[in-house]
Each structure stands twice: as C-alpha cells, then as structure tokens.
C-alpha cells in the first residue's frame, strides 16, 4: 500500500504540500521521507561541503543530517519552510563536526605562537594565471584554513551565501537574526577572508 503511495507521490511530489507530506510521515508512512531525501540531498551536501571541504566527510554529515531530521520530525512546528529547518540542522551538524575535529583551536594556537604571516596564495602557487591553474587538494586546504579561521557566525553566513547562493533575507531566517546583522557578518567575513587568503592575519573580531 505504501509502495503505491510512494510511486504516486514521486510523480506528483511538487504538487503535494510539504507539510501534508510531513503529516503523512508522522502518521506512519515513513517511506515518504525518501522524497525529502532525494529533493534536498544535494542542498544539504553542498552546505556541509562548505564547512568540511571533503567529499567523504560531507557524505557522512549529509546522512547524519537526514537521520536527525527524521527523528526530530515530531518537533517540527511548520512555522518555517522545511528547507529552512533542514539548513539549520545541516549548519549545526557541520559546526559540531568541525569543533570535534579540533581544527580551529589548533590553527589559532599555532598562529598565536608564531605570530607571523600564514602561507597565502603566493606561497602555494603562481597567481599570475589563475584561470589556468589546475585545482588540487592543497587549494581546497588553503581555502579551508581561511574559512576555518573565521568566527562561526561569519563562517555560516559566508558558506550559505557562497555555497548555496542564498539571499541575505534567507540567511537571516536560517540564522534567526536580522538582515542587517547578516549584511554586517558578510561584510566582516569577506574582509577577513581577503586578508587570510592573501596571507595577512586578520585582527580578531566577532
């Protein structure tokens, strides 16, 4: 019976209201949850990728996010869009993963010890011809270090902006803050990123 429902709703998934789908899942039609997984899989993966910069870790995190979302479905009040709620879970899971790995504190500690310029793009590769440089793993790590050095709120705002192309209004809804606050976060994040990427250590700010 649930198989028939599943086939029908795969065909008409965009016609059915997401809240109605959630109600069905909570009533026991758990196979319907696959519709959400297929629809939002890449979105969640991209968000996680913006934090961990590694496909395997991002895949594991994405799975973790959807399992957590299913278990927390009874707590979803439908006051915001399902995608907004899912973004929040993805961001929190990604930040927890980064905190657990201890990457940020190690980088901060090293920089505080030596107090010198961190390796910037110039030391990693020749920037005279950026269009034709073959992107390698160390380029990802270079970007990752720069992003990891940002405070969590700035990092969240810049990842949602750059990796998900979300508007300031959408980011504000996900972060439960105002558009003005998001604008300020993005401004500071971009400034700090510029300095970090070019090899200058930014001043600590919130």
């Amino acid at each position: 019976m649930s198989g028939i429902f599943l086939r029908a709703y795969f065909r008409n998934q965009f016609e059915m209201n997401e809240n109605e789908l959630i109600k069905l899942i909570l009533q026991g039609e758990r196979d319907m949850f696959r519709i959400f997984v297929e629809k939002y899989r890449q979105m969640v993966f991209r968000t996680c990728m913006g934090f961990v910069h590694n496909k395997e870790d991002a895949d594991d995190l994405t799975q973790e996010v959807f399992i957590h979302a299913y278990r927390s479905l009874p707590d979803f009040k439908m006051k915001s869009a399902f995608s907004t709620w899912l973004y929040r879970i993805a961001v929190n899971a990604s930040l927890n993963k980064v905190r657990r790995s201890g990457r940020i504190s190690f980088i901060d500690w090293i920089e505080s010890l030596f107090g010198s310029e961190s390796p910037g793009a110039g030391q990693l590769f020749d920037t005279n011809d950026p269009e034709n440089i073959i992107i390698k793993k160390e380029h990802s790590q270079w970007l990752q270090r720069a992003l990891d050095s940002l405070p969590e709120k700035q990092r969240t705002a810049i990842v949602l902006s750059k990796y998900e192309d979300l508007s300031q209004k959408e980011i504000a809804e996900i972060m439960k803050t105002s558009e003005g606050a998001v604008e300020a976060l993005l401004h500071r994040a971009k400034k700090n990123l510029r300095e970090k990427l070019s090899g200058r250590i930014p001043k600590k700010n919130k």
């Binding site: 997984v37 969640v44 993966f45 278990r71």
Partner: protein, 154 residues
C-alpha cells in the same frame, strides 16, 4: 554598497579600499560600466589589488568546484535503511514493555482482589470476643440435660 557607490561615483575616487570592497561585484559582472572601467584602470597600476583580484578568482574557482561535487547517489537508500532499523528497534522496545507490563498488571490485580476479600471477611466477623465461648455456656453440663425423648413424651 554598489548602489551607494554608483550614485556617488562623481565624488568617489578609486582607491585600494574601495577597489577591494567592490572586487567581488566586479568579478560577478555586477558593476556599472563606468565603475568597471575605473576599477580596471586601478588594477593595471596597483600590484597589491591585482594580486588580490587573482587570489579571489582562484578562491571562487575552488568554491565552484566544491559546489559542483556530487553527493553519494545511494544516500537515500542508506538513510531509509537506517530509519527502518531505528523503527524496528523502537517497535521491539515498545512490545517488550507490553510483554512485561501485562502479566505484571494481571498479577497485581489478582493480589489486590485477594487482599480486598480478606479485608471484607475481617469486617463481617464480630469484634472483641469473637471465637471465645461465654462463661454461662461453659458451666452447662451436657449430661444433666433431659434427653430429647423425655421432651417428646406427651
């Protein structure tokens, strides 16, 4: 930012700080034509801003590559398998609870019924000297009583 700058372009001179602020918009093709020309002229003369522009281009390429990476195509299957296991375990836990609680409930009900019966029985018995024979009856000698046959003779 961009609208402010374009509205006041006659008053603003291109400098490194302004250049760095609008570099991203320039790379995304969002700058008005006049400002684009000013910025490009500045980049030709300023090595530091030119280098920053190249670094930013590179960072954008890395981000684009990461964005275009595909997630695991079997993710939905893995997630649903995990959910099935989770629901099965939840069902087992709840049925185990029922298997333990039902007999316990029946046993407790029976014990309560027996206790209630005992209490009721105790309430119906006369209080105080219940079970003790009165003194007057203890002095009666059965042998001195007339026989029943005597009483029945008329």
């Amino acid at each position: 930012m961009i609208s402010f700058v374009s509205n006041h372009k006659s008053q603003l001179k291109m400098n490194c700080q302004l250049c760095q602020e609008i570099l991203e918009a320039y790379q995304e093709g969002k700058l008005p034509a006049g400002m684009m020309t000013q910025l490009e002229s500045h980049l030709e003369t300023c090595d530091s801003c030119k280098k920053l522009s190249e670094i930013q281009l590179l960072a954008n390429r890395v981000i684009k590559l990461e964005k275009e990476t595909d997630s695991d195509p079997f993710l939905a299957t893995r997630v649903m398998a995990h959910i099935e296991r989770f629901e099965d375990e939840r069902l087992k836990t709840s049925s185990l609870g029922v298997r333990i609680s039902r007999p316990a409930l029946i046993t407790m009900s029976l014990a309560a019924a027996v206790l209630f019966g005992i209490m009721l029985g105790n309430l119906s018995r006369p209080a105080g000297n219940a079970g003790m024979v009165p003194v007057e009856f203890a002095l009666i000698n059965d042998a001195s009583l007339e026989s029943v046959d005597f009483l029945s003779l008329e």
